[in-house]
């Protein structure tokens, strides 16, 4: 019978071994707690290694104008830029701004969609972090109808 402590210890060992074995392309893929705990948009960007935010036409965000249900807001992020390291989705007024990070590789297109929870109406950011650390963003305001009844 394994107890929790032993299981945790073994998990850590396996993680360390995997890290040592090396997955260069995905080396940064370990869960970045600091970034997901960050309150603001710029804080989160800094935590994942991006610089100052700059608006860009090459980053596209897809989100509804009005979300009737803040628990399920479809958000898409895409970019046509080359040399993008990560694509991020952030909601400015959520308790923690960062929602999702996608590590872009050569084999996958810079185009992801998912669904997010939003506590209140807010700007939603799509941010592309380039290999040289620039943070390019596009944003869109999404209004959340409170109560979820579409009133």
């Amino acid at each position: 019978m394994q107890n929790r402590r032993e299981t945790l210890k073994q998990t850590a060992t396996v993680a360390a071994l995997l890290a040592a074995a090396g997955f260069p392309q995905f080396a940064q893929a370990a869960f970045n707690k600091a970034a997901f705990d960050a309150k603001g948009v710029q804080e989160a960007i800094t935590a994942v290694g991006g610089g100052a935010l700059a608006e860009s036409k090459d980053v596209t965000i897809t989100a509804p104008d009005i979300a009737e249900n803040g628990a399920v807001v479809p958000v898409g992020v895409s970019t046509t830029l080359a040399g993008v390291k990560q694509l991020l989705i952030l909601v400015e007024k959520n308790p923690a701004a960062l929602i999702a990070t996608f590590h872009v590789s050569d084999a996958v297109e810079g185009n992801f969609s998912t669904r997010a929870k939003m506590g209140q109406s807010s700007d939603v950011y799509a941010v592309a972090i380039t290999n040289d650390g620039r943070a390019l963003f596009a944003k869109k305001e999404v209004k959340v109808t409170l109560g979820g009844c579409g009133g």
Binding site: F26, A29, P95
Partner: protein, 103 residues
């Protein structure tokens, strides 16, 4: 053990459009239960996807992704018959991997 994911991978031009529906509570850690106590966060933290065993995507999620999450992405250079597998790991250490064939 969590319920299986539903994965659909379809060719769209020279890319495979992969859509995944996972089954997970995605508890945000902000909600209170009937007794007024915070419900601890429980959410998918890491997602990886591979094509024929070679990893093509890594993603990290926060607690603010919706319950029973949906994810769509495009794999370049895939062809019909290729195997796409997707795995996730949540903050309790649970994992799940499912596989689908590109059609």
């Amino acid at each position: 053990m969590a319920d299986p994911m539903r994965i659909r991978a379809q060719m769209a031009g020279d890319k495979a459009n992969v859509r995944v529906l996972m089954s997970h509570e995605m508890e945000s850690g902000q909600r209170k239960d009937a007794a007024g106590k915070l419900v601890p966060a429980w959410f998918i933290q890491e997602i990886t996807a591979s094509l024929n065993g070679k990893q093509v995507l890594a993603a990290e999620w926060g607690a603010a992704v919706s319950k029973n999450p949906f994810l769509q992405f495009f794999i370049k250079g895939a062809k019909a018959g290729d195997k796409v597998s997707v795995s996730w790991k949540d903050n309790r250490g649970d994992t799940r991997t499912d596989e689908a064939t590109v059609s």
